[in-house]
Structure formats: C-alpha cells, structure tokens
Symmetry: C2
Subunit: 224 residues, 2 copies
C-alpha cells in the first residue's frame, strides 16, 4: 500500500507569489498544482515556469477541462503538466479526447518518469454510473472535494463523503482529496486505502505552511 | 422583441492571433468573447487587452467558473469582462458568489453602460429544477450548446435541443446559443424568441469570416 502524497495547490493571482509559495513548500510536497485561479490569472506560462523550477515534482494543471479537450490537454501537457484535471460535467467525448492526448504523449515518450494522466474532478450531479464510465475509458484517478464555496459556508466533511469515496475506490478510482484539508482531519480518511494525494492550498503557505505540511505528513505516516 | 446579438468566441492559443481575429470581426459582432482556451493560454491579460482594444463591445470572459466564484469573478470583472460564464455544474454557493460580485460591482458603478452579469453555461447532468434555482438566484442568462467535442463527433442540433431551449426560456432565461453555428442553421432557432446571442468562433475568422458573419446577420434579420 503506497502512502498518499501531499499536493500544494497554488491559487494566487500572480505568478510571482506562486513561485515563492512553491519554493517554500518544495521539500514537503511531492505534487505542485497550478490551480484554476492561477492558470486563469497567468495562463500557461504558470505551468511552464513551475515545471522549469520543479522538474522533479509532479505538476498538476487544474483546468477542470469542460470542453475542447484535445486542445486544452495538448496545451497543458506541452507546457509541462504531468496530470490534468477534467470536469466530471464534461461530455464523455471531452474526457475521451483528453485521455487520448495523454496516451499519445506517453506512447511517443516511453521514458517519461511520470506518465501523463487525467484526473476527473467531481462536480455537479454525478452518479456512480458516470464513475464506472470514467473507469471504462481507462481513467484511474479522480478528485473528491468539498466545494471551496460550500466550505466557506461552513459545510464540513460528512459520513456521506466517506461513503462516496469508498464506493468510488471500489469502482476502481484512486482519489485525491481536497477542500480545506487540515492535519486534524486526515484521520477521517483512513479507510480510503487508495488515497492518492491530499491537496491543500492556503494551509501550506505563509509562516505556518511548513509546520502544517509536516503535521499532515505525520498523520499520513500514522494511518497508511 | 430585440434581435439576437452576434458574438465571436476567440479561442486561439495566443493573444496575438486573438487580437487580429477580433480586429477583423469588430464591425460585424456586438460581443467579443475571451474563450476558455485563450483565457487559459494567456491569462487575464487577454481580457484586459481585448477590453482596451474594444471598449464599446460587450466583453465576455468564458471561465466556465466551477469553484472559487468570488475570486474568479472579481478577477474577470476587474480585468474588464462585462459578462462571465459560470458552469451549471458549480455548487449553488459558487453561483451565488459570482452573482454577488457582479451585483456589488454594478451597485458601486451605477453608470456602467453594460451591467456586469453572469451566464450559466449548461454542462453535465442538469435539470430544469436546477434552471429554476438559477433564476431564483437572479440569473437571467444561460448558454446552450452542443459540446465542441460532441460536435466533432458529428452530433447535430436535434429537436430535443429546441424543446429544452424553449423550456429554459419559459423558466425565464435568455439564451446564448453556440456549437458550430453556421448561417444555414439559424432558422432552426426562430422559435427561441429571447435568443440573446449566437456565438461562433472559427466560422468568423479567416478569409470568409466577415462574409459568414454577414450571412448570419441576414438570417437574424429575417427571423427576429
């Protein structure tokens, strides 16, 4: 059983802040994510810059791709993304298009240290039948989270979340888990054996960022 | 009954191509959209540059906002967007957050020629109950389309699309219609009385772009 990885989501409005935050976190995370906010603020140079600065980290580009899959996937992978998020709400053809770009990229570059992959980001009125379809398309990863806006409304993690995660795991998906992740919450997810990563953003930046990251890692050691 | 507007979606991978395409189309469209591809490629400078070049056009920023509504909406409106797209799959709290940013912006700037608005971009497993909720939130616009990837698979406009559009109109939404729009298809939508805009991208650029735009406008004159 491999231990879940720790992922920092960079969601600043400027690349300058993002590179500083990434530099501070580089020794305590395995995955660096160019969040949707940063990607829309600065464009693909955010991905290429962070890839250049952190060639040995896994780089995630959080486009929540909803349409135009082939173009957006090519753009993100060309810029240096290893993994790309695709919205659960996207048409199946969009998911197929993104998957094909990843597969073609992997076939053309057999020596890649990290294979290009897509991650289905779960939003909207999804069903477990949808999730089975993703697996049939060859997708192995999904992202489960509380909506950031729901989180702002004070909505906590619920037993329903855990049940859904377990079911998604049974269907065959490795999950990255996000939405206001703090060290004290990690134990809640201990039954999610195939948790791929925990994603945190603001918790990992600022004065207490490193301390919080280490506290999360201690919890991961404890439960996986 | 007001006539539908014509909107060009700029989905190039570079700002240089986008400004050239917009310049060519400026006299035949009322609305200029920074498409998701362009926004992710170049960031918010794509919005601010096109707004600076076309201050008298309506500027749409197609973020398909799925989360972090307050931040993304503020970013897009500050950059000069008049209208912002929000994914139907977003949590209701995200839609509320985007709407509030628009409302606050309008309240603080009573002399705006074009009010800031959000447009719900219809993707995923949506229902008419969802659409009623959007209207209850104060949303007046939605975007109806064929998925670009579905379109690439050859999926045409169907009577089911028309029925759904009519129902959405009854619920109280003005619709922008998109997905491979060509002049020959415009008559299909003549029963959509509150059609707000038709959106085309590649059809409006290149050698035949102006001719195609004029042909669409001729059809709009005929049916509305």
């Amino acid at each position: 059983m491999s231990k879940p990885l720790l992922q920092i989501a960079l969601d600043s409005l400027t690349l300058e802040k993002a590179v500083a935050d990434a530099k501070q976190a580089e020794n305590v995370v395995e995955i660096i994510e160019i969040g949707t906010i940063l990607a829309f603020a600065e464009g693909m140079k955010a991905v290429s810059t962070l890839k250049a600065l952190h060639p040995n980290h896994i780089i995630v580009c959080d486009l929540k791709t909803t349409d135009a899959g082939a173009i957006l996937a090519k753009m993100a992978f060309d810029a240096g993304a290893d993994w790309l998020t695709v919205s659960a709400a996207a048409h199946p053809a969009t998911k197929v298009a993104c998957k094909k770009v990843a597969d073609d990229f992997n076939a053309a570059n057999p020596d890649l240290k990290v294979k290009k992959e897509i991650q289905i980001e779960i939003y909207g009125n999804w069903t477990f039948e949808d999730a089975k379809e993703w697996v049939e398309l060859g997708v192995t990863q999904a992202i489960y989270h509380r909506s950031r806006d729901a989180e702002l409304l004070g909505k906590g993690w619920m037993s329903e979340d855990l049940e859904q995660m377990k079911h998604l795991e049974e269907i065959g998906l490795e999950l990255s888990i996000t939405g206001g992740i703090v060290p004290e919450d990690i134990h809640l997810f201990k039954e999610i054996k195939k948790a791929k990563a925990f994603i945190a953003g603001r918790a990992l930046v600022g004065d207490k960022g490193t301390e919080t990251a280490m506290a999360i890692r201690t919890e991961l050691e404890k439960y996986w």
